[in-house]
Symmetry: C2
Amino acid sequence: MVNRSEINMADVARRANVSVATVSRALRGLPGVGEATRARILEIAEELAYVISPEASRLSSGQTGRVGVVVPATQIWFYGEMLAAIERRLREADLDVLLYQVSDEEVRMRFFRDLPTRRKVDAVVLIALPLPQLEVDRLDHLGVEVVVAGGRVRDFPYVEVDDRAIAATAVDHLVGLGHERIALIRATNYGEIHWAPDVLRLEGYLMALSAAGIPDRSEYVVSVPFTPHDGAAGAEELMALPEPPTAILCFSDEIAIGAMEAVRRAGLRVPEDVSIVGIDDHPFAAVMGLTTIRQDVDAQGEAAANMALRRLDHAPVDNLVIPHELVIRTSTAPPRS
Amino acid sequence: MVNRSEINMADVARRANVSVATVSRALRGLPGVGEATRARILEIAEELAYVISPEASRLSSGQTGRVGVVVPATQIWFYGEMLAAIERRLREADLDVLLYQVSDEEVRMRFFRDLPTRRKVDAVVLIALPLPQLEVDRLDHLGVEVVVAGGRVRDFPYVEVDDRAIAATAVDHLVGLGHERIALIRATNYGEIHWAPDVLRLEGYLMALSAAGIPDRSEYVVSVPFTPHDGAAGAEELMALPEPPTAILCFSDEIAIGAMEAVRRAGLRVPEDVSIVGIDDHPFAAVMGLTTIRQDVDAQGEAAANMALRRLDHAPVDNLVIPHELVIRTSTAPPRS
């Protein structure tokens, strides 16, 4: 039985009758090693149960080989999808992902107070989340590269979508169908915190109405927490108005799916009585026939990971706006005349 | 400007005029330090930008302070919810989570070939995923504690639900309503891999039918990949039968929601024409009115994390079966007579 702790790259090289450099290249998947040689080296390395020790090789250079990903909650699709793309890309680059879930205020405050990433990671990818100014200020103290995915935080490099244009695209679609009574269900569940996507989508909604010459009506804008259940409640509130809207733009597909259900429960039909548009292109949107503004979350995550990799190489990065796309399905139609 | 790298616990102790042991206890949140003292120590530590170096303190004892969590895909709700609970619990215990997403066969094979967890983590929580025998065999070589969340893999300690009983509970509910033509949409998208929940739920379905004296009909069992879209396709296949079922049990709520949409698109009503039952209690289930068998994924994740913590303390652990619960909503009703 081989004692694993004693195996090193030289043992593999000796057994394979190649140089240590060749073993290193083969194990790291770098070019310059023939396929047969690579296969033989991998086989021997496996036989000897050789594993590169990341601590030993990276600590000496002051690098941890890890990137922290900060996310509010992995069970929400948007964050799970973003995290999936970031992890996949960083894994391809042989970096490990340290997960920081900052789901409630206490955990979030603790994260920013303890600055736990220092000496644990080389960089942090912050998946956009609502942050109070105090915590934003603390990000400076992390002492590592920071990039932001899905929004902006301070002056850190970012990947985002154009939230204003997203909302405007949705309103333009509804106006084009002939709607004038267009409502918005916002997602504002963050107390005093400025949550940019919500504010920007509201702005885009108001701008697009104004551009179409449609006066905005304050009773057509309702704010709900971010769940399908609350989306349903928001739609119920709108349908109970003396003059209910003929179309509803929802902050997300999750809220839109709740709204669709509420409309159906009220004995009305989508889209005959009410058109509904979401934002995201959630995996449920297609099967529900939901018209939506697709934002490519996977592309945002991958781009943010690439940005972190470039920062780690001390290479310059450009902020990136990922394009969105109107996906027309069966939840929107002209209003009843 | 203080040079952070030179700050150590003794500096904090000196400035606070307490012992190094007291600083250590205060920073780690252990009892035995008065509130005022703790607050002062934290303030000074913050002022000095002191951070415990996990590498320095843990490497020497052979501990990394990290637990690896292996998950197929974070954007699927079940896995995201499980990961959320595991991360939360481990974070409370001051451990970091290293995320390994093994979304496709290539990545999974690479994970098990490279055994990357060795020297990187102290333990692995494996969120149940379909594994070929070859990879199951490799788990022995990880060289760290392994616990399994949401199923069983070999003889590792596990937290699971009773999949057979879950399916039987659903069938019993439908039989109780008077249904006899009860179909099952399975999720079998894993080639030759034995995927226990799918097999066990099929067994539970067949057992419950048999117990009710209802002969099973092979055309009432369809297999689909695990997406809402495929759930819809499965339901369409069933509805096209010469004698379609009056009730459909679905492997998951995601599949059930797809099935509900397909039934509606076919011009039929849920539950008047077809009853539908899911499994999970997905966040969308309540708003969709979906009757389901709730499995407490959060509790499974938390229990698995606790199990990993006990294993790290070399404490004995007991396997755990988390109870499930029938949640009756509006998608099930007696069949039309």
